[in-house]
Structures are given as structure tokens and as C-alpha cells.
């Protein structure tokens, strides 16, 4: 059996478990499937850990090859690999120093390790100093782009566009402090925001939700039976022979 078919069979069996666990009555096998839930859950967690391992190998293969062959962006690849290995080393040193392997129970035990001064500084610089600041900085760029997009693209070209713009303005203004305007603006203006969110918006959101769930169901079935393009059961895939 080819690799693709093995994946298809495992996917099918995984789906069958969840399907039957949900639909079978307790006395007709449902309880037995439910009792295996802890093992299945553990299996997925183990698989998650395996995926992390695969990711590590993949990073070394992709960026290591770039460094060895001095391909494009090889200096960045060295930086990535050094940062990667440094972070793993610092994390592992403290874990191995303080955790008794025989009582190792996963993440909780790793968190119990008291970090050394060097590790604390390393985490402080890399996490609070670099990762946090970069993450916040990149995300805050959105504010600048949104302001520019609002100015450039938010044009009242039609009646619908005017409705959307008016809604946006009411919703924004309704949630802001009004140091000067609060005495001037009538109270019902705040009520418009509430009505838009609880009335108009809820209906639309439900419609979107039902539509996306229907689409999700179709996608799930296609994945379950490997019917997607390139899957074992897709046209030309050859089926599960």
C-alpha cells in the first residue's frame, strides 16, 4: 500500500472513531468508545509532540541546506539556526538540571524548574525584549494601515456603502470616551450602536455562521474520505486498493 493510501486509511479510522463515539447510544458501543477517550486524547498529544520533532528536522533540512550550499539568504538561515539551537539549549539545561526524569510528567515538571540567572536574563531579553516587542510592533502597524485604508478606500459610492459607513461611525463613536460631546450628543445615539450590534449584526453573523459551518462540514467529509485533490480517493487517486 502506498504512503498516500496509509494516510487515507488512518484518516478514515480517526474519523470513524469520532463519528461513532458521537452517534452510537451508550449501550450499543458508545460507552466503550467513550471509555477510550483518554487514550485517544493521549495519542493525539503524543502525535502533537512527534509533529514538533518533525518540524525541528524540517527546519534543519531546509535552512541547513541553504547554509551548506550558501544559497540565497544563507546568513539569515545561520541566524535562525543559532537562535533556534540557543533557545533549545538554554531551555534544556535548566530542565535537565532540576527535573528528576523518573518523575517527569511533561510540561508541568518543566515549569517547576527554578531558572538560573543566565536563563532568566536570556528569557527576559529574547522573550520580553525581542519577541514581545516585535509582536506588538508588527501588530500595531495595522493601526497605520487601517487609518490609511479608511481614508483611501472608504468611499460613499453607493447607498449600501453609505449605510456601512454610517454603521461604522456609530459603532466606533459609541464605544469611545466623549469628554466634550457627551453633554451635547443625545442619548439615543448610543442606543443606535447597541441596536446595530444586537439586532442587525446578530442576524448577519448567524447567517454567515450557518453558511461557514455547512462549508466546513463539506470540507470535513472530503478530508475524512480523502476526496480532496491529490487524496487517495480523489479522481485519479486510485482508491483504497
Amino acid at each position: 500500500m502506498s504512503k498516500r493510501r496509509i494516510i487515507a486509511v488512518v484518516t478514515l479510522l480517526g474519523g470513524v472513531y469520532y463519528f461513532l463515539k458521537f452517534f452510537l447510544p451508550p449501550d450499543y458501543g458508545g460507552r466503550a468508545l467513550e471509555s477510550q477517550w483518554a487514550n485517544v486524547s493521549r495519542f493525539w498529544r503524543v502525535m502533537g509532540s512527534v509533529m514538533i520533532g518533525l518540524g525541528v528536522i524540517n527546519i534543519f533540512r531546509v535552512y541547513g541546506r541553504k547554509v551548506v550550499k550558501k544559497a540565497r539568504e544563507w546568513p539569515e538561515s545561520i541566524a535562525l539556526l543559532l537562535a533556534f539551537m540557543g533557545t533549545i539549549a538554554v531551555g534544556l539545561v535548566d530542565v535537565l538540571k532540576t527535573v528528576d526524569v523518573s518523575t517527569f510528567t511533561g510540561v508541568q515538571a518543566a515549569q517547576a524548574a527554578e531558572p538560573s540567572a543566565f536563563t532568566s536574563i536570556y528569557w527576559d531579553v529574547m522573550f520580553n525584549g525581542v519577541l514581545m516587542s516585535f509582536g506588538a510592533a508588527i501588530f500595531s502597524l495595522l493601526g497605520f494601515y487601517i487609518t490609511q485604508a479608511a481614508f483611501r478606500a472608504f468611499r460613499v459610492r453607493s447607498f449600501e456603502a453609505a449605510l456601512i459607513m454610517a454603521s461604522a461611525v456609530f459603532i466606533m463613536l459609541g464605544a469611545l470616551p466623549m469628554p466634550v460631546l457627551s453633554d451635547v450628543l443625545p442619548e439615543w445615539l448610543g442606543g443606535i450602536r447597541t441596536w446595530l450590534l444586537t439586532g442587525v449584526n446578530v442576524g448577519v453573523q448567524r447567517a454567515v455562521l450557518v453558511g461557514s459551518l455547512a462549508a466546513g462540514l463539506i470540507m470535513a467529509v472530503r478530508m475524512w474520505f480523502s476526496l480532496d485533490r491529490g487524496g487517495a480517493m480523489a479522481d485519479g487517486g486510485g482508491g483504497l486498493r
Partner: protein, 335 residues
């Protein structure tokens, strides 16, 4: 380059004015009549870097001037407030689970909400369990409760309570069970059999050592679950999987961009309250101050004021952009 062109036009005008000021002044009435239209046409082609500069100024000036205005009342945030207040009297299940599921990207919006909810629980002596499903939020599960404890103890001291009633005790009033690996599986594990899913707190001490966790077996033992997240799908995940036999009350604090979709669950009663981004958190903080006397977090009010200036700029730019669009279209049609 638009900026260079505009600066060039300004320099040309200045040199003309310097050469012959009277001639320029004679042109002034006509120029003033044409000014609004010309200004709007100029605005229509405004360089994006000027907009970025205006945005930066709108955000930096209120912060550096330490401007601070009281936020508006938020009805959905007050629903959560009333629910937590009611927990003390309503039933025997008064344990609150707070999941801090956000990272550095959404910190500015969700940290105030996390702080406000934890402060409230601690002050009202509603025991609270803090955890996270996001690796990057591990530090916040330590920092934010520490900040909340300082605020609560200060408020109690200011209220004149005796010293033994001031302290917030770890293991009795709150506990941190830290980062839980496994997303949906972690949620399902906590909901169905908490002791087998989480054996120790964040410091590695067995949960059974803490009075707060002694009789906690599954989701049925929680009176409320507060999900604080900026990630797509997390709120739905808790709604779908965090239950055992009894219905669990769930509330959400989310980023402003997720507010519209959250209203569907609020309307159906699946969420008992909603903290809508920073306005929701600031509104909650205001309610805490007005009702319980816990001083508001200054950084929350300042951030809210900063947001007010930013959004006011957006509204002004949208209006000006549309006026420029209308004028530009008429000019084109006339030509």
C-alpha cells in the same frame, strides 16, 4: 513624489511672496475663495506618509500629555460584572476559571480585560483559577495576577479593612495552573477530569495541596469560565467542549475586531457577558471603581483615551476623504 511636489509648491509660493508681496496679497481674495476646493482636491491625493505621521501624532500626543478621560459605560461588560457579583449569593459553585489565551500582539487590548476580571474576582473573594492555552502567555499568568493582588490589597487597605482581611492568599483565593498543552484536548481534559489532566500548579506543587482545588473534579465544579482571547476559534472551542453534566456559564473578553461575531453567542445566552476589546475592559474598570471602590488602572484609561484620538482621526479622515472624492468627481465631470 507627492510630498516633494507639495513642498516644492510651497517653496515656489514663498519665493514669489518674497519677490513681490503686494502682487501675492492682491491674489489673496481669489485664492481664499478657491481654497476649500483646492484643499479638498489636495486632500484627495494626500500622501500616505502624511497619514502615517498624523496617526502617530494622534497616538503619541495623548500618551505623552498623560490625557485621561473616563470611558463610556458598556452594558455587556456590566452583565459580566453583575454575574460575578451574584455568584457569591447564587449557588455553591463559585469557582471562576480564567483562560489567558492571548499573546504579545493583542496585549494592549486584552491585558486590561484580564486585569479587570482577576481584580474583581479577588476583591469579591470569588476564587479564581488562572491558566493559558497559549505558550507565549505563560508570563502573563504570573504578572497580571501579581498586579491585580497589589491593586486589590491597596483597595482593601484604603477601605480600612483589618490586615488579616487584606491579603489575597495563593491557593485559597487564587491559583495559577499555567500553560496547558493540547488546545482542544486540554479543554476536554479539564472539563471531564481535571486532576488527571492537570496534576500540579505552575510551580510544580500538587493541586491537592491547595484548598481552592481540593474538591474540583471537572467543569461542573466551575461557576464561570472567562475566556480572554484574540485568536480565532478559541471562544468557540470553550463553548463546544467545556462542559460535563451541568451547563457551564461562559463569558468572553475579545479584541474589538472579534466583537460582531461574539454578539451572536451573547444574544443566544451562551455568553453571560462580553468585554468588547479595550472599551469593554475600560468600562469594566469604571464599574469596579464606581461600585466596589477599586481604583481604575491608569494605563487602561490612558490607552482608551489614546484610542479615542486614533479613532477620531479615522472618522475625520473618512469624512474628508469622501468630501475630496465628491469634489474630485465634480471637477472631472466638469472637465
Amino acid at each position: 513624489m507627492t510630498i516633494r511636489r507639495d513642498i516644492g509648491a510651497l517653496v515656489d509660493w514663498w519665493s514669489r511672496f518674497r519677490d513681490d508681496p503686494r502682487a501675492e496679497l492682491r491674489r489673496l481674495p481669489g485664492a481664499l475663495r478657491r481654497f476649500p476646493k483646492a484643499l479638498l482636491l489636495w486632500l484627495g491625493g494626500l500622501d500616505r506618509r502624511i497619514i502615517y505621521l498624523l496617526t502617530a501624532l494622534a497616538l503619541i500626543i495623548p500618551l505623552s500629555c498623560e490625557l485621561m478621560y473616563a470611558p463610556p459605560r458598556m452594558a455587556q461588560a456590566e452583565k459580566l460584572f453583575d454575574f460575578i457579583e451574584g455568584m457569591k449569593e447564587r449557588d455553591e459553585r463559585s469557582l471562576v476559571l480564567v483562560s489567558v489565551d492571548w499573546g504579545p500582539q493583542t496585549r494592549s487590548e486584552l491585558e486590561p480585560a484580564t486585569l479587570a476580571v482577576i481584580k474583581h474576582c479577588m476583591y469579591s473573594r470569588v476564587p479564581v483559577v488562572v491558566m493559558t492555552l497559549v505558550y507565549a502567555a505563560q508570563g502573563f499568568t504570573v504578572e497580571i495576577p501579581r498586579e491585580a493582588i497589589d491593586a486589590v490589597e491597596k483597595a482593601r487597605r484604603d477601605a480600612g479593612l483589618p490586615e488579616d482581611e487584606v491579603k489575597v492568599v495563593y491557593g485559597r483565593d487564587w491559583i495559577n495552573i499555567g500553560y496547558q498543552l493540547g488546545s482542544v484536548n486540554a479543554v476536554r481534559g479539564i472539563a471531564s477530569d481535571l486532576p488527571s489532566q492537570v496534576s500540579t500548579d505552575v510551580n510544580g506543587t500538587p493541586l491537592s495541596d491547595f484548598p481552592i482545588m481540593r474538591d474540583v473534579a471537572n467543569a461542573d465544579d466551575f461557576g464561570l469560565m472567562v475566556e480572554i482571547t484574540g485568536y480565532v476559534g478559541f471562544a468557540n472551542m470553550w463553548l463546544q467542549w467545556f462542559k460535563k453534566e451541568k451547563p457551564v456559564y461562559i463569558s468572553l473578553a475579545c479584541t474589538s475586531v472579534s466583537v460582531p461575531e461574539s454578539y451572536a453567542y451573547l444574544d443566544s445566552g451562551q455568553f453571560v457577558g462580553l468585554l468588547e476589546g479595550m472599551p469593554g475592559a475600560a468600562g469594566y474598570d469604571r464599574k469596579l471603581e464606581e461600585t466596589l471602590g477599586i481604583p481604575h488602572a491608569e494605563k487602561t484609561y490612558r490607552a482608551m483615551t489614546q484610542q479615542m484620538f486614533g479613532q477620531a482621526l479615522v472618522v475625520i479622515l473618512v469624512v474628508l476623504g469622501n468630501l475630496a472624492y465628491v469634489v474630485g468627481r465634480r471637477v472631472k465631470e466638469a472637465a
